[in-house]
């Protein structure tokens, strides 16, 4: 397929006149005639013309973003560079760079021009998908799994609540309960299916039971939030799942929804309102922090560990929750909480956001020296911590792999839910 635009070419000039003013170098300013490059703006405009990607054109190359971009730390990337590449002939919609951004939003935090990659990337990716451009095969598989099985792992829908057996406590299904509950707990795909995710789900179930919370789950009716699929460019899939999910959520009576994952929080709290769903949704850390007084006496068994906490991008930067997870960790007797150098607003990214969860093999082949999760695992180990605490279901599996591959097996990767549960039960 022929590209819509000829690749931009830099034109070298010794003299240039812009709006009647000769901007060529002057003898008394320079030892030599300044060489002026003129770039065609088509490939920048091509991106900026896509609805929601307009801010791509705002970049004035200050490079503040590159300093905080987690991908640049392990490779050669960053929004400024994307702009520059586009200037020199890269069509982002067909470049591998299109798929490296994790939408972690740290660039947006520092950008003086509000170049918003969290909007640009999904829009440009969707354009690539619509134009039939290259899409990493593993990502397409996750899309297809979500569409067909209701979860990106491709696990059977009928097994969505199979994890309940490992909880050892009652986990009511709202359909069977047939009454209103105060908390509808949206478990999420990874806590429902991933072996390490299930550990966190079971821990949450035990904690909710111990606190006497009137909760229920959707069971086999629950389907993926598809927010990361949206950020990876499959907005249509997201909308399809959203329509189904909202219908399911509204079928039952409940006061508040608690989600295990920050991505689900982002979807239900920040995106679903556009589709007509506006009901209270909180992350489990925020929710449990409300019960600290009740929780503390239950945390009877010391967890004598040096723990460092990784801020999930979609809990922290995207949704402003930095303190609740730390309060929960500090409530556990014996815990010594240490911070990594990059934390809170400047927290590093695990690489799983924006579809990165399903593109590890692709990313590894494109200008990255290691996975973001590996970089982070090394940072965690360098604090001397022996536990890396997380609060996002993507992270448990990612960091568990990363501590192994970087030779830091002595660092345990545990969800805050698992740590609370251990302190309650004394394991």
């Amino acid at each position: 397929m022929a590209p819509k635009f000829e690749k931009a070419k830099a034109v070298e000039k010794e003299h240039a006149v812009v709006d009647g003013v000769d901007v060529s170098g002057h003898w008394n300013r320079m030892f030599e005639q300044r060489v002026i490059f003129e770039y065609t703006p088509e490939l920048i405009e091509k991106i900026a013309d896509i609805p929601n990607a307009e801010s791509f054109a705002n970049c004035y190359q200050c490079a503040k973003c590159v300093a905080v971009c987690p991908v640049d730390v392990v490779g050669n990337y960053g929004p400024r560079k994307l702009y520059r590449y586009a200037q020199t002939g890269m069509d982002l919609t067909e470049a591998p760079e299109l798929w490296l951004c994790t939408t972690c939003a740290n660039c947006l935090r520092v950008c003086p021009k509000e170049v918003n990659m969290v909007k640009i990337m999904p829009a440009a990716r969707e354009q690539a998908i619509l134009d039939g451009k290259f899409v990493p095969a593993e990502l397409q598989q996750a899309f297809e799994n979500t569409a067909k099985s209701g979860n990106p792992l491709g696990q059977p829908q009928r097994k969505r609540d199979a994890w309940i057996q490992s909880a050892g406590v009652p986990v009511p299904i709202i359909k069977d309960l047939g009454r209103k509950v105060s908390v509808l707990w949206y478990v999420g795909s990874y806590p429902s299916y991933h072996p390490r995710g299930i550990d966190a789900a079971a821990a949450a179930a035990r904690i909710f039971n111990a606190l006497g919370i009137d909760f229920a789950i959707l069971g086999k009716e629950e389907k993926d939030d598809a927010d990361s699929q949206r950020l990876a460019g499959e907005k249509g899939l997201f909308e399809m799942m959203t329509e189904q999910n909202i219908e399911t959520f509204n079928k039952y009576e409940w006061d508040e929804m608690v989600v295990t994952g920050p991505h689900e929080l982002n979807a239900f709290k920040n995106v679903y309102p556009k589709y007509g769903f506006e009901r209270p949704v909180v992350h489990y850390s925020t929710f449990l922090a409300r019960y600290l007084d009740q929780l503390k006496p239950m945390l009877k068994h010391p967890v004598n560990k040096k723990i460092t906490y990784h801020d999930p991008c979609y809990l922290g930067r995207h949704n402003g929750e930095y303190e609740a997870p730390r309060k929960l960790l500090e409530a556990i007797p014996g815990v010594e909480l240490v911070e990594m150098q990059r934390n809170r607003e400047n927290g590093y990214c695990c690489g799983g956001g924006g579809g990165g969860m399903w593109m590890d093999s692709f990313t590894a082949k494109h200008n990255t020296t290691m996975r973001l999760s590996e970089k982070r695992a090394m940072e965690a180990a360098s604090t001397g911590a022996n536990v890396l605490a997380v609060a996002c279901p993507f992270e448990v599996s990612r960091f568990t792999d990363a501590v192994k591959s970087t030779g830091n097996e002595h660092v345990d990767v545990l969800d805050i839910l698992e740590l609370l549960d251990r302190s309650m039960r004394g394991e």
Binding site: K148, S149, G154, Q155, P156, Q157, R158
Partner: protein, 315 residues
């Protein structure tokens, strides 16, 4: 115009398929009701045509037609039909008959009744019972006009009634092989390496109800616990969830195991062709009206996953 019935027989590797004999037997019955003859038609060389209980047999004995060629067979049969003006032309609704029957219908303007389970003469006219919509409905149809084409599902009539011996009249092929646009190149043998499901005593067979590739594992676990092998209906194979060597049915293999445990197979006629002579057929399906329950020895309207999981616990 005649009241004869032409039966287009089928053979491969020198052997006639059962459906050929089934149709000849049925044709004799119809011919006597219509006052015509049952004529077996054998297209192609390399086969002895003196095996049918037909009133007569026409053998277009041409080595160039030994391998099935839809274009050549179509033209040969079309020429024969023009010459003989039969009342009925019978095909098998098979991988070869399906290529020619509807083509002949469109060429000649004669109506075609496909998926035929039964053919009879009522008040001098032909009435065909056809299995439509995957076996969910039976249709009684009346082909109108001078000639009717009927394509019969294999296994609808007894084989024995068509077996006998009638010496064939040999005819030359009216088709110039050189002018054909479809040319047979070579036979493709089944890929080896996988288990032979026709040799298994027990099969756990899965259909569309299995939902997705991720659920095949459950069937495999159950099969293992039973000492059985997993087979499947066509949609499962077409979707790539199991290899083609595991497919039971018209376009797959015919099996006759001691146990055929069916999970999520509705029982389309194409599938039934491949398994209905199994010794013990047990079907689990959520659709209480699934046609398979008319064929199975035991059935249950239940969730196949729940049943399979519960069985695993007991085995």
């Amino acid at each position: 115009m005649s009241n004869d019935i032409l039966v287009i027989t089928e053979h491969m590797d020198g052997k006639f398929s059962d459906v050929s004999f089934e149709m000849v037997g049925k044709a004799k019955e119809l011919a006597s009701a219509l006052g015509g003859q049952a004529v077996a038609v054998v297209v192609g060389g390399g086969v002895s045509s003196n095996v049918f209980a037909s009133d007569s047999t026409i053998h277009i004995d041409d080595a160039a037609l030994s391998n099935f060629n839809p274009e050549a067979y179509g033209k040969v049969i079309e020429a024969l039909v023009k010459e003989k003006s039969p009342k009925v032309v019978m095909f098998g609704w098979t991988v070869t008959g399906m290529d020619v029957a509807a083509w002949l219908s469109a060429r000649t303007g004669a109506p075609l009744a496909a998926y035929a389970k039964d053919v009879r003469v009522e008040g001098g006219s032909l009435v065909v019972s056809s299995q439509a919509y995957g076996g969910k409905l039976m249709a009684e149809v009346a082909p109108e006009g001078d000639m009717a084409i009927v394509a019969c599902l294999a296994g609808s009539f007894p084989v024995e009634a068509g077996q006998g011996s009638t010496a064939g009249t040999t005819m030359a092929s009216p088709v110039d092989a050189g002018s054909l646009k479809v040319k047979f190149v070579e036979a493709i043998k089944p890929a080896g390496g996988d288990v032979d499901i026709t040799a298994q005593a027990k099969l756990v067979s899965i259909g569309r109800g299995i939902g997705g590739k991720e659920n095949v594992e459950l069937a495999e676990e159950l099969a293992k616990a039973l000492g059985a092998t997993v087979s499947a209906s066509r949609p499962v194979v077409d979707a790539g969830w199991l290899p083609r060597t595991r497919q039971v049915g018209k376009s797959g293999l015919k099996v006759k195991p001691k146990l055929y445990l069916m999970l999520g197979i509705s029982g389309a006629p194409e599938h039934l062709e491949g398994m209905k002579s199994a010794e013990l057929i047990i079907a689990v399906n959520t659709d209480k009206k699934a046609p398979i329950f008319n064929v199975a020895h035991y059935g249950a309207t239940a969730d196949l996953f729940e049943v399979a999981e519960a069985m695993l616990e007991l085995l």
